[in-house]
Symmetry: C2
Subunit: 336 residues, 2 copies
């Protein structure tokens, strides 16, 4: 029997329909292509192919926009938003619009041509998380901007157009509607129960154990109860914290290894799928929030999203999260 | 300069970013594959390959589940939902769930192996719309069900797994969250202005003309102001009506030709793209609503939806709707 499950935060219903997994056209895994692009603008030595760097962690005595960097942040060459100008909010009859002010940056995660972040050493993961934090802290100073979204697309099925491993940062003058839904959903729960719903989820998941993928002292990863996508995995800090940029140094160190483990498990179990991950964090213009809890959502792209999902906001997921979590838990990865 | 545009109904912001269209990796068009699947379960003569028919428009003196039909409705062989049973709503700690009760049907739109609906004669379109209506009217009688979503996936990029032209109907015991957002957004506007926001949009679009794609006495098609996707096109009846199933006979006749024209324009201008269309209509358990207006949304799938869109509900559209509408308006199609 298929099952409807409700996401307790935004109220979205998901259909867990194992019957669908028996279809002749099984969701296909699209492996990330590993042919090196020539010349790759993100490889060390090709720094002039990108706009000038905004931030880089580099070896001593190396110069900006030259090799010697380990992680490098540059403006997106084809940005969705522009940083210069005023918002100029205005109407057009019944419609509302404003200028596309904002920031669109690319975080190049390693100097050599690696197509998957999971292969990088733990130290790189630490530096990547520090770069994420540094950019958010810096951009929060611009009073026009209210939200910073850090995300990664791996594989063409997930929307990546360049294969050299990288993530992106889009900073907007409006709180995105999905973030707004998370904020209001978790606030409603907090007003009713006086607790953070994410903290409650962590407690329940750790006590039932069936959806846990990985558990370390300060972080836990699980397949969410109302997983929209097969093998969807959330990574949450165990200590309540609404803003990713307020992460503790010891947490960054642990998260690097925890996150690398999860990505390696996904790549091994699903044979290098295309995937996205997104850091969900509170808006810039908020103080520490008792009801919101930053986290990372990892979404493997095993099947195409079809018309029904678009039209309804219902997702049909053929693999129950309990089964996905079991597969990932039992997938052994070693990297030390 | 990119532009933020707000969808006036659900409040979703879209970024119109023409700069993005200059990227080297241009959104690829995925043509619907035209190799006939062997043996295609939807072709006439293979009726035993599908579950038994629920409804068919057939020639006189032909029998159920045998050739002689023109449009045929069967249960989905791999359904996301099951019709038998009780909802059995219950909790699981902080989570809510219920049985996946509902209906999942397939509408096979022609007996011969056509891969695109646009090639079908106008008469077939009429019958397809009548079948849509008949199924909704019939399923509304089940008190457990509250919403019927009619949609079509064409091309594998749009989620289609069988190429023989068909659409689907999923009927659920819950109002989908996206429908709920349209209902509440349009009700808010109605409470404030006393008018249907869709009627207002039709008036404004017809008076400015820049986003109109096709205009006939009782229907209008336009590229919406806050188009999430390149070449997104909405088809609306000019006379206010919240429920698709209350369509007038003369409207069905006109819609058939109007809709065929739009699909032919899209197929010609975009070289047979993958696309979805979805009929947006009011929930079963509502009377005629003054604030809601049924319509069809057509979404070509020219680019992959990436991490940013998932995480934020913001869409980045590289082609302004004014430009898309102009291309479609000027695309000549003849079929009489």
């Amino acid at each position: 029997m298929p099952e409807f499950r409700k996401d307790p935060i935004v109220g979205r219903w998901v259909i867990i329909a194992t019957e669908r997994a028996k279809r002749p056209a099984v969701p296909k895994l699209e492996a990330a292509n590993s042919t090196p692009a020539r010349p790759c603008p993100f490889c060390a030595g090709n720094e002039e192919e990108t706009p000038g760097e905004i931030l880089a962690y580099r070896d001593p005595n190396t110069k900006a926009n030259e090799p010697g960097w380990r992680v490098r942040v540059v403006p997106n060459k084809f940005p969705a938003l522009q940083v210069e100008g005023d918002l100029n909010k205005c109407g057009e009859g019944i419609y509302d619009k404003m200028n596309g002010i904002g920031v669109h940056e690319v975080i190049i995660e390693c100097p050599e041509h690696q197509v998957t972040i999971a292969n990088l050493p733990e130290e790189n993961f630490r530096e990547i998380f520090w770069v994420y934090r540094d950019r958010l802290v810096d951009l929060k100073k611009d009073p026009r901007l209210v939200y910073g979204m850090l995300f990664k697309n791996t594989g063409s099925a997930a929307g990546a157009t360049l294969e050299h491993t990288h993530s992106q940062l889009i900073v907007t003058p409006i709180v995105p509607i999905s973030v707004w839904e998370e904020m209001t959903g978790s606030l409603e729960f907090f007003n009713y129960r006086g607790r953070c719903i994410y903290c409650d989820m962590i407690r329940q998941e750790l006590s039932t154990d069936t959806r846990i993928v990985h558990d370390t002292p300060n972080f836990v990863s699980f397949a969410p109860f109302a997983s929209r996508f097969s093998f969807e995995t959330w990574v949450l800090p165990k200590h309540h914290n609404s803003h990713f940029e307020n992460i503790q140094k010891t947490e960054v160190e642990e998260l690097a290894g925890h996150f690398k483990t999860i990505l390696m498990k996904l790549e091994t179990a699903l044979d290098r799928p295309a995937y996205n991950y997104i850091i969900h964090t509170a808006p810039f213009d908020t103080q520490a929030l008792p009801h919101y809890h930053w986290h990372i959502e990892i979404i493997p792209r095993l099947a195409r999203v079809a018309g029904f999902e678009w039209g309804t906001g219902f997702y049909i997921n053929p693999i129950p999260p309990e089964q996905a979590a079991c597969v990932l838990r039992e997938t052994e990865v070693t990297w030390r």
